[in-house]
Point group: C2
Chain length 321, copies 2
């Protein structure tokens, strides 16, 4: 048992306040709720439009209704409001690039991805885990956004894992750690019970080490997002598009973190288009890499070198299978 009710640790707030006082901090808070990623496609006046959103939500089973929200000021808002139908393409774990193409300004999005025309000629993106062909039913007011409610005329579910967006970054799902432990040895705890199969052991150990590494990083007050950005800039200066491609962070997160890094003197910005590390930034980046390496060394301490070498051989061999 490590549920809230049983261990009751101290839950330290990271940020809090009135959303009106700090919109960026409020957005980071909203990012605690994980979502899938959907690309909403539409055809209007014989032109195609598509937009990546994480505001999709199922509403009703009978009648079958779903909703999503669009910024009032979005250049595509007119197309979605005037078209009679739209399609919700629920992206698979393999479609980060598709999400990026439909998440940033792009001259010709539909030449960048494979798709098939569905009813009314609206694009169905290949490789999605679900297509929902919808008739626009109602539009509700939602502050700086409009809430579009669609009636689902037809659904298709495909094999595959969903893409996630959580805490400002792309991610994929994994089984809950407690399920893995329980499933490994249903009747007895692992430590004293029988040794689980090698692959189960691999999975459990990996989850354990990831959790320890996360604690380690939190103790250093370095976020995963800033580490990834520092690492990429350590290689060479680059722009936001390249950071998006290489870090798997959302654009808003990248802009937030870059703002902080510039303010702290870690990063220099060339007119906001090219970013490079300062001498201070290079030192910080090296220090973070050094501490990561130390973490590995510390965790492996006391295990014989020949065992570690054998374990490496096994892991490398498994990767070829």
């Amino acid at each position: 048992m490590y549920d809230t009710a049983s261990i009751q640790p101290a839950f330290q707030p990271i940020e809090q306040g009135n959303p009106a006082d700090d919109g960026r901090a409020f957005r980071r808070c909203l990012g605690q709720y994980a979502t899938g990623v959907a690309v909403i496609t539409v055809k209007h006046d014989d032109k195609l439009a598509g937009m990546a959103v994480n505001s999709f939500s199922a509403v009703s089973l009978d009648p079958p209704l779903v909703l999503w929200s669009i910024r009032r000021e979005s250049a595509s808002a007119k197309a979605y409001l005037e078209a009679s139908h739209f399609v919700v393409n629920v992206l698979s774990a393999d479609q980060v690039e598709t999400s990026q193409v439909f998440g940033a300004p792009h001259p010709d999005r539909f030449s960048q991805v494979a798709w098939t025309p569905g009813r009314h000629g609206i694009p169905l993106l290949d490789g999605a885990v679900a297509h929902l062909e919808c008739r626009l039913e109602t539009v509700y007011e939602g502050g700086d956004h409009l809430i579009l409610v669609g009636h689902v005329d037809r659904y298709v579910r495909f094999e595959g894992e969903p893409l996630l967006f959580a805490q400002g970054q792309y991610a994929v799902t994994q089984n809950h750690p407690r399920l893995t432990v329980a499933a490994a040895s249903p009747s007895e705890p692992i430590a004293e019970g029988k040794v689980p199969t090698f692959l189960k052991l691999l999975s459990i150990t990996n989850q354990h080490m990831s959790a320890l590494f996360q604690e380690h990083r939190q103790a250093l007050c370095v976020t995963a997002a800033s580490t990834r950005i520092l690492n990429r800039l350590f290689e060479s200066p680059c722009g936001i598009d390249e950071l998006e491609r290489s870090t798997y962070l959302g654009r808003d997160t990248i802009e937030d973190v870059l703002g902080d890094l510039v303010a702290q003197g870690h990063v220099l910005s060339d007119k906001g288009t090219l970013f490079e590390l300062t001498a201070k930034g290079r030192r910080t980046s090296e220090a973070v890499a050094k501490r990561s390496a130390e973490f590995t060394i510390e965790k492996l301490r006391g295990i014989s070198e020949s065992d570690i070498a054998a374990a490496k051989r096994v892991l490398l061999e498994l990767q070829k299978r």
Copy 2:
């Protein structure tokens, strides 16, 4: 590159149709969009209410608005519609049990979890990754549900990982596999480049083997959900509450899968409250376990026994750290 646009495999639909023809299949399709889990709490007529939902969505930054949906026929609908305020508690990965308490009928939910009264005395659940204290702004029609839009007066973000609900089961996030590979060795591919650190190697190998195992299971036409239910019932007969606790599947999924297993003659139901395996069910369960074991044996074939033994020692030792 293994994005859709580049490899273009054949995407086989699993289920498709008009939602009106098969509500269960439509619900499974909606489950392809991953979500977090939020418990919405409220105080009305001096009574507390709370409900786990996965229909939460951010709507607007300025003004700060969020929404969620409630079944019209829910016993708690009156409380949420008449109360002036509600709280969105975004659950952490540790709070599966909290989600279960607030997802099924329960006599006294608030005695089962730790909480603190917030503004207006509405419960803030301890251990959540975010609290959003909201004023009910608008209620919109949404078919068999009502859409409640709240104005966020105050937000708190906490350290921690979010709980996920995807494809009918509880899960947690993990870094995108392509990020892990890229981060392991930025400048050269792993196969021919330098060996990454041991812990990175552990993570990459685990992801690779998980993907292979998933393919293996798909080829056998056995779903993860039915495997977990068969495994639990193989131990002893039990009811839906126990299946929920031990399989980390959602209630809807459990009911769906049990219905199929009963129809196929794998499971017998005692008045719908107690479920047990038939002789056929036991044979299927054993066959699935056997094939899992064969998968491990096949993947380890050709690796020396002494290396495997050494690797096991290393993994078991790491779990103690």
